[in-house]
């Protein structure tokens, strides 16, 4: 049952940690924890969401232990790599160009510029296809909060992608 979700867990871990060895460690620790605490799993409920929840706790514990990255609040503006003031979202025809200019690896690179609080919501909902309710369960917050995190996260992601397109020389500055 749990190993059926191994690939999904690994995808999320890889995108959270950005490192294969660390992703494997996180997944392994999470699945062993799930195994030891299986009696706490409520049969009939969502096993995948339960496993994601455990894995996120494992990941956050490691992050806190090593003092690398913290869950910044929703009001926090992105700082790494993307300056939101100079990276407007494309509109109209530019939007078409925007999709055509995204090259392999851009989305992962753009995700990495997102603060963790938005990144994890976008990864779970948009890359893994979890429902708002499932994401809310995994992240332990109300559905309304998830909706605002997703909205903000997607906005930041588009901005980052536009900026990369500009760096690749595909999009011109909107002036």
């Amino acid at each position: 049952m749990a190993l059926v979700h191994l690939d999904a867990l690994y995808h999320v871990a890889l995108r959270l940690t950005r490192n294969r060895a660390e992703a494997e460690d996180v997944v392994q620790e999470a699945l062993l924890r799930a195994f030891r605490n299986f009696r706490r799993f409520n049969p009939g409920t969502n096993c995948r969401a339960w496993l994601f929840t455990i894995m996120r706790n494992v990941f956050l514990n490691r992050v806190r232990r090593e003092g690398r990255e913290v869950l910044e609040g929703e009001g926090t503006l992105i700082t790494a790599g993307v300056d939101s003031a100079t990276a407007p979202e494309p509109a109209g025809n530019a939007e078409e160009e925007f999709f055509q200019t995204i090259v392999h690896g851009d989305v992962d690179r753009a995700l990495q510029t997102l603060p963790l609080v938005f990144r994890e919501a976008v990864i779970l909902a948009d890359l893994e296809g979890l429902s708002y309710r499932e994401v809310a369960d995994v992240l332990g917050c109300p559905v309304g909060t998830i909706m605002s995190r997703l909205s903000r996260g997607r906005h930041l992601l588009r901005q980052a992608l536009s900026q990369f397109a500009r760096e690749h020389g595909y999009l011109k500055d909107a002036e």
Binding site: L3, V4, E24, L32, F99, Y132, M147, R158
Partner: protein, 261 residues
């Protein structure tokens, strides 16, 4: 619904998270308002972009390590239930292990048969009925001998050379069997004209380059199998999973091109 209301619910609308009544109201508005319809289209396209990101499968080593760790944990839980936790812990642990490893213990009869054939032919000096390194010759041979339309993939860029083919009797029907070699390691490629649903491919499900495969390992022989709806494909070898999945992916791609022709 007006434009302002539509924009407010744009994300849940595109995500399919609105209630039925709200969805209908948004549909009606989008049908009347080009600008809002365009907003929704752009959002959908962005979701598609995100959903289509490459997904790297967990390695076979990680799977193997987990199975072995869980085995160890299970033994510990069974040996010391009265010390560490109530008996229920051991019972639930046993259930999880059973679920986790059941896929590894029993291959489907078909996969077992393919592994047995591979082992048997690996013992023979010249296993092929038709010794040939020419894909076209082999394809013609299968067509004439058994009316089978076979795709003979080219694995030479990966250093895997084609050595020949034979007709195999598998699952009570004729199947194409291709032989490849990497160094001295034999790779068997089976193609069976069996529609989906007629066979169960037991094993661990993995996703590689967006396609689903079933893997199973026995006595050091690894298998990767899948079905495309009309035929079942099985690769058996001592090569690692990465090499096998790469071969599977190439076969799938070459077959897709041929089918279109």
């Amino acid at each position: 619904m007006n434009c302002q209301e539509f924009e407010a619910c744009l994300h849940p609308y595109v995500d399919g998270e609105l209630a039925v009544g709200e969805t209908s109201a948004a549909d009606v508005h989008a049908a009347e308002c080009g600008r809002c319809a365009d907003l929704a289209r752009r959002e959908r396209r962005f979701r598609q972009l995100l959903r289509r990101q490459p997904r790297e499968a967990a390695s076979a080593e990680l799977r193997a390590r987990l199975v072995s760790r869980i085995h160890r944990e299970r033994r510990r839980a069974i040996l010391r239930p009265w010390l560490v936790a109530p008996a229920i812990a051991a019972a639930s642990a046993a259930i999880v292990v059973a679920v986790l490893i059941s896929a590894w213990r029993s291959p489907s009869p078909l996969i077992g048969e393919l592994i047995d054939k591979h082992i048997a032919y690996a013992q023979i000096e010249r296993p092929a009925e038709l010794a040939s390194a020419d894909p076209t010759e082999i394809e013609m041979w299968f067509r004439q001998r058994a009316g089978l339309r076979v795709t003979v993939p080219d694995y030479s860029p990966s250093g895997i050379r084609l050595v020949g083919a034979r007709l195999a009797e598998t699952h009570e029907q004729k199947a194409a069997y291709l032989f490849y070699e990497k160094g001295r390691t034999l790779l068997s490629v089976f193609m069976l004209p069996i529609p989906t649903g007629d066979v169960a491919l037991a094993g661990a499900r993995v996703s590689y380059r967006g396609h689903a495969y079933v893997t199973y390992e026995q006595k050091g022989y690894r298998t990767v199998s899948w079905s495309d709806g009309r035929a079942v494909f099985g690769l058996v070898s001592m090569l690692d999973y990465e090499a096998l999945l790469e071969c599977a992916d190439r076969l799938r791609a070459e077959r897709a091109t041929q089918t279109r022709l």
